[in-house]
Symmetry: C2
Subunit: 338 residues, 2 copies
Amino acid sequence: MSRVTIKEIARRCGVSPGAVSYALNNRPGVSEATRARVLRVAAEMEWVPNRAARQLSAARSETFGLILARSAQTLVEEPYFMGFVGGVESVLAQQSYALALQVVANLGEEIATYRKWVAEGRVDGVIVVDPRVSDPRIPVLRKLGLPAVLVGDPALADRMPCVWIDSTAAMDAALDHVASLGHRVIARVAGPPEFGDVWIRDQAYDAAAQCLGLTAWTQHTDYSAVHGADATREVLEVVPRPTAILYDNDLMAVAGLAVVQALDLHVPDDVTLVAWDDSPLCRITHPRLTALSNNVVGYGAEVTRRLLDVLAGATPQAHLYATPTLRIRGSSGPPPRG
Amino acid sequence: MSRVTIKEIARRCGVSPGAVSYALNNRPGVSEATRARVLRVAAEMEWVPNRAARQLSAARSETFGLILARSAQTLVEEPYFMGFVGGVESVLAQQSYALALQVVANLGEEIATYRKWVAEGRVDGVIVVDPRVSDPRIPVLRKLGLPAVLVGDPALADRMPCVWIDSTAAMDAALDHVASLGHRVIARVAGPPEFGDVWIRDQAYDAAAQCLGLTAWTQHTDYSAVHGADATREVLEVVPRPTAILYDNDLMAVAGLAVVQALDLHVPDDVTLVAWDDSPLCRITHPRLTALSNNVVGYGAEVTRRLLDVLAGATPQAHLYATPTLRIRGSSGPPPRG
DNA sequence: CTGATAAGCCGAACCGGTTAAGTTACGACG
DNA sequence: CGTCGTAACTTAACCGGTTCGGCTTATCAG
């Protein structure tokens, strides 16, 4: 229990607590000599500012909030998040900011939590993930005046500051890839349509397919492995059978691969598979999965930096973080002849 | 910004702020009539206690800490954690406690963070995960007087309160399973030996193998998919070749399966595979993986409840949470003849 | 030598709660 | 009828910082 307070430091330095505060916060009001002395004594005594006290008087909590509106069980299946959170932390740690991470069941609870946080003065800003089409959280946050950065496309952000990755360009790259291999009939196993990111990809997929003259359709799922497997089975029963399947995440792609192999079909000879969200999973299957790769950790870090910018008074902007890179691996090849 | 303070409530009720505090905290000192009136007005005004103020005066932060000493990249690969964190949250939310989650690079930083947290008065207690053999964090936490619950075996806890799952019984079940199928030569692809849990399993594995008269050895890895694959390759080159392989996590098991198949061996006809940490991953491969399953979400919840007990003054104890269940699936079968 | 100016520091209020100590009113009891 | 005890509040100190008005003292122009 370090009971070292600035009062104690003040006593030792023979100055008032106020002066110590100025010195420690690098503000004018004390001479350089005094400042140096205070800093030395504070370091000697291993003084650490009391968060609650600082928060109470300064009306800043030095904490960012991040809410995941998913069931705990879903989170087990989504390696994506931990990487993102890790990226967020890496930036926050440098600023001695803290992260309040909350897991709730749905958007309603998420909104209620924002309200509570504002009332409690718990967070200075929030990172909003999994944007929906016409996301109800955006007007609420705006009205609450809670600084926020949306992790998603500007088309979903309604002028709220956001950081996004170019899903449209990525989708183009993926379809170009399969089309150039000669595929003409393709299917896509997508996430839930209410997710903004899925919606963006839906648009991009349809547009690119039409542009390339492909026969292409989409099967929506809940992102889970089980539904990914089911969707793969359904998709493979359609006539004409698709010769390439795109997946909206890695887990469904891996599940799909197992289904294809269980049906005694071969990858890539009979079907080409392409995954979104590259992860170690895509590299441990046999064959390895072609995937759209992006740096989740870096993404989390970038979003956090932008939120710090917003706090510092930057004008709201949309920032493109990156375009996913298509990593071509063993799961893609030309379509079977015939 | 709900600027509703107890002072405001006091004014409206015509009593002093102190009385309001007594009323709101269900403490003696006010009449039932007044208490009811205060509660009504507080609800009407949507009063929410200011965390910082309460923390400052009550010297409780109503926050638990959880530090993950792993690289952000590792976390991407470990779905385990999000489920655990989700379980923790589910209990904390009911108590309106908060969780401070920090991701750091190593144990040294983790210890430094505990020190900082104590100095800042940031947390009331911590959940300690990934216990090591002779874990350096335990004496530090003890000296700091920071309440903690260790997630791991009592043998690793040095009398610190802990919640554990019975790895020894689980290992026995796994070895019984493969032995009863007729396997006599088995290998184990394990995690890093400095991890306490791995160490416990090492002991259990050796003991059970000797007891059953099996030829058994262990290959240690860093838990990653890549090393899991490498270890599988090495293990399969040993003469006599093992007919069954046990893995310390699901990711390595999936990677191992791909390696086995790439070598044109068949599961389970040529090799039986058994995974630890059952997850959707184990159910989407072909064949599905036999695995030791335990409820990670419930585990997190239980640990959190125990920490609340410790805060409430319970005597330090070791609590057995569960014994993992062996889920037998398509990846296990009798050894090949000859 | 005087008066203006500003740097440097002090004291105190304040943030929004909690809580020990003090006050008042009322009923019971000798 | 006076005294004492107690329920019901009020007051004020306190937690550990931040911040602001004002007081000293040194500096310098006039």
